[in-house]
């Protein structure tokens, strides 16, 4: 999917830009989060990245109230009809499904940040301007840009153009993708990807489909495909206690990672953290994990370190717990 702005220039639809990212690739990086994702992982901490297209997020706690403000209604071309308030005049939702002009004027006029827009169209020059301002930090640390999401390869055409532009500027690139994407779209970004970051949640396709909504055949095929090109890869597993942290699953993934050979520079076991719940609320969505509570740190940490050690021993792969260890041979 490729977006364009009113001038017809190609755009990425981006919902967050995060400077000083240090855990998604080597060095100090700027991470761009692209909208849209084909997976529905229940532990997702970026629900605002799932839907394709801009979305309005609502923070009722930041609303000043209709009696004091009402700027959103005043600026709405439809007289505020999509904007919902409770009995006290506090914003509850903006209904984009019906009647909305999709003009996003209310997000501009809200002074308190109660109406946010998730997903802004940005051109390559606009993005490069932001990246250039941190160039010194990249050069000092071996950092650069990381394209992430959502699923960045939903917007594969733009990603390919942006990566090429970054390389033209000598900016190091990482792509973080779940790889449930047609292989030819993956191929489009590989020529300008320095490190590929991806993840395996379940080795078994049926379990994968049950939890994330899709099977893992395409994902595993793509991972193997990328590995065969020789591009350095970081593979991850989000280790969610009680969901996928059983030895059977983890050892099967370990076996798979081993089969990828030398392209894998690090295999990271990422601990589950309950994050993003407030963002689900802004989208009027329930947290998919419900009231799931992970065990105490002392419990999961022991298991994570045990898995790391056993995976190292059994498969001889470069496993690390967390993303705090430097990628061997990368960064400064």
């Amino acid at each position: 999917m490729l977006y364009h702005n009113e001038k017809g220039e190609p755009c990425g639809l981006i919902y967050n830009i995060q400077g000083y990212t240090i855990h998604d690739g080597p060095g100090i990086r700027t991470e761009l989060f692209f909208k849209g994702c084909p997976l529905r992982c229940p532990w997702c901490s970026n629900p605002e990245g799932i839907h394709v297209g801009p979305q309005i997020g609502v923070y009722p706690s930041k609303c000043l109230g209709q009696d004091k403000c009402n700027y959103c209604v005043k600026d709405c071309p439809l007289g505020g009809s999509p904007i919902r308030f409770d009995g006290d005049g506090i914003l509850t939702a903006v209904d984009m499904e019906k009647q909305c002009a999709d003009c996003l004027k209310c997000t501009e006029s809200c002074p308190g940040g109660a109406i946010m827009v998730w997903g802004k169209k940005m051109t390559i020059p606009e993005i490069l301007k932001i990246l250039r301002s941190d160039r010194d930090f990249y050069e000092r640390t071996g950092g650069g840009v990381t394209l992430s999401g959502g699923e960045v390869l939903v917007q594969w055409e733009f990603a390919a153009m942006l990566l090429e532009a970054c390389h033209r500027e000598n900016i190091h690139t990482c792509v973080e993708s779940a790889l449930h994407i047609p292989t030819e779209h993956v191929d489009a970004v590989l020529p300008h990807t320095d490190i590929f970051i991806t993840d395996v949640k379940y080795a078994d396709s049926a379990r994968h489909k049950e939890v994330t909504g899709v099977g893992n055949e395409l994902i595993l095929k793509n991972i193997r495909h990328v590995a065969e090109t020789g591009i350095p890869m970081v593979i991850r597993t989000p280790v969610v206690p009680g969901w996928n942290d059983d030895d059977e699953n983890m050892f099967a993934i370990g076996e798979f990672v081993k089969s990828l050979g030398d392209s894998v520079i690090q295999y990271q076991l990422l601990p589950y953290r309950k994050m993003g719940t407030e963002k689900y609320a802004t989208l009027n969505q329930p947290y998919p994990m419900g009231d799931y509570e992970a065990p105490e740190r002392s419990v999961w940490e022991v298991n994570l370190l045990r898995l790391r050690d056993e995976l190292r021993e059994r498969y001889g792969i470069p496993v690390e717990a967390g993303s705090g260890e430097k990628l061997p041979g990368y960064g400064k």
Binding site: Y20, I28, L64, K68, P111, G112, F137, G324, G331
Partner: protein
Amino acid sequence: MKTLTNAENLKNKDVYAHADEVDVTPLAIEPYDKEWGVGLSGNTPEPSPFPRINNILKVTARTTNGFVSPERAELVTEAYKAHPGESQEVKCAYGIANVLENTPLYIYDDELIVGGLGCDKKGAPVHPEFGLNWVCNEMRDGLMDYSEQRTHDYFSYTPETQRRLEALEDFWKNRCVEDYANSLLTEEQLKGSHAGKGVFFADAYIHCGAGHLGLDYDRLLGMGFGGIRKEIEENLAKLDLSDPKDLERHDFLRAAKIANAGAIRHIQRYAELLAAKAAETADPVRKGELEQMAANCAWVAENPPRTFWEAIQLVHLANCIILIECNGHSISYGRFDQYMYPYYKHDIETGVSTREKMQELIENFYIKIWDLNKLRDHILIKTFGNGGIGGPALTLGGLKPDGRDGTNELTFMCLDANAHVRVPNPWLAVRLHSDTPWELKVKTANVIRLGTGEPKIFNDDVTIPSMMSSDIPLEEARDYQVVGCVEPDVSGKTYGWHDAGHMNMAKVLELAINNGRCFHCNAECPRWSKCGALGRRLGPQTGDLRTMTSFDQVLESYDKQMKYWCDQMVSVLNAVDIAHQNVRPLPYLSTVMYGCVEKGVDVTKGGTKYNFIGPQGIGIGTTGDGLSTIKQLVFEEKKVTGAELIQAAEDNWVGHEPLYALVNSDKVHHYGNDDDYADDLTKFAMDTYCKHIERRPNAHGGFFQPGCYSVTVNVAHGVKQWASIEGRTAFEPVSDCMGAVHTHCCSHDIKGPTAICKSVTKMDHARATNGTLLNWKFSPSALAGKTGRDNFIALMDEYVHRKGMHSQFSVTSQETLIAAQKHPEDYRDLLVRVAGYSAYFVELNKDLQDDIIGRTSLSFD
């Protein structure tokens, strides 16, 4: 880097515990990349590898509360009364000598170094020469000991202590610095000061010494007190008393000789007491230690030290005596790793001592400094909470005078010592530059990541040129130490009056857009009858935003208003300076500073080489965002009129909620986001302050130096100021140091550390010759692992490369701070960086705790 050879390393391997973990020079007891955890702060029992140090720590109070000790005040008074006809200098000398010769001395179990303030640990002597009335008043009003108005930094005292001090009160009336200084001040000077509306504060040294210096360590260690005595006597013999200038010198040198004799006698008394204690000690090991300590004191009372142990003993005693003479804070320890290195090397090479033994001495020395205390009034401690003796800075690393890097083993050992004792003294400063060794950066990062708030980092690459702009030659500029919280200083050659006052730039902007009148001007103001009721305004009429037609008029008005208030502040500071010279010369200090004995001039009168006064600009973020708000919303977007904006602040934003939300939102350009729009205006705000301060003559023969940091006084200035247009509500702190704005609504900097680094380094740090400071606050997760460590080092490197002068770091999670506020009993040892220094978080008052919690936390996991 000066290090031992590989052969020497191998030879010495067995003297330290973890030799096999170290594979690179330089050597210390710990490997250079030893990790102590991230964000653990002080919460570890027995942090030191030395049982002795852990034993001492067990009886070391983690508090700055103390008690009032009346002996010093009585002994000084006695001497003044015994010498009524003498000159002020000689009288002062008899005062300090009488204290040194007669004050009680203390020796503690396990300790290897002696020295204190003539009272038990955590006791604070009283210095009536600067002012006694306030001490007695606070006792009478119940403001000295614990009360609801004073919940930390409180001082207990017995009824007898109160009676003994009150008995001296009459004598010191009109004989002290405070009374003399007040007699010099006029209504115009006072109306904007601490005694008025708090546009500026200039009262820091009105009832205490100016402090903020380091002695001349080369002089002290090279000559010893006996050598100094000889120099005084030789200069006395050279005088021609028919020359009136020499008559003045004669007075000074007599005073210096009396003070010097007092210092020698003081140390000899320790030697005698230690010998007596050794004689009655049965344990042969301790007996031997006490005998050695007695021998050390007996030797260094007059002679230059020969060993590391003698040198560290002399350094501690010589500094304690400065504090006994004058209670000014930030008496600093200079470039400790440089001047101590010859002793270290000598002791290792000759086998006199071992690396472990010297490490233990350094750790004992740190705790000795923490045991010292200083009496402060109940107003000051609200913003300078948990300061203790205050400002004992110790500088490590950096360039040597010849331009080579000076890092050595002691640099590492002194940093390890902080992690081993985890008390917030001394205040460590590591000097970085473009060629700082990687190992030192790792060591520094690891100590910072521990989260005690130590050390701060200073940048040679901007500080050295900055000092040279104050006429300091290259070699001396390269040899700078950091004094107290922030200030670069040539140790022993500078009487810098650093941190003498501060100007609230945000208040100046308020007056500049309201035609000289304060916001919220009404009959509730204590000055109303002298000011508003008569139709007057606090400041000159330089313009009114309601009627201004261009943004340039705002800038012009700010400039004029700033000039007026700088004039007032400078005049008050000069008056206090004159009071110090006339009432409280410092003969002992003069003997250990460079040049005073040679010139025959007391240090307060300009006897040493460099003589500055350094007042700070406060609230650059608040001022910059204020200017940015006006430019964008009033003159460019015209979303609001000047009248509406002022009215909103006058109404403390009540009824103006949308505007309050807007000015606090990212829809307005704000400082701290690498956005030139706001950063340029912030730079203008700071440069305007510097322009009106720099190079103005001061009363002790030098000139003024602007600084740009608040330490914690941004809280105190905020309490004096009504709401401001960038989104502050009434009485909130103004922005801290070089940092961005964080209001009760939200933080104005939202782009993360790379943007902060770039915004802050767009300011001209070199121009702030009295120093700058940026406080960083990281969540532990941002610094965890090698990834966190090395990217943090890169961030520091980039700050250095971009000519930021000085940074300090807090590494504590928001959750920990909030939990500590709720359950202080569980967090007694939690050290945090305040600004300029570290403090026990639970000892701070709630306003300051909230200010620290509110600083933008850089977290990204």
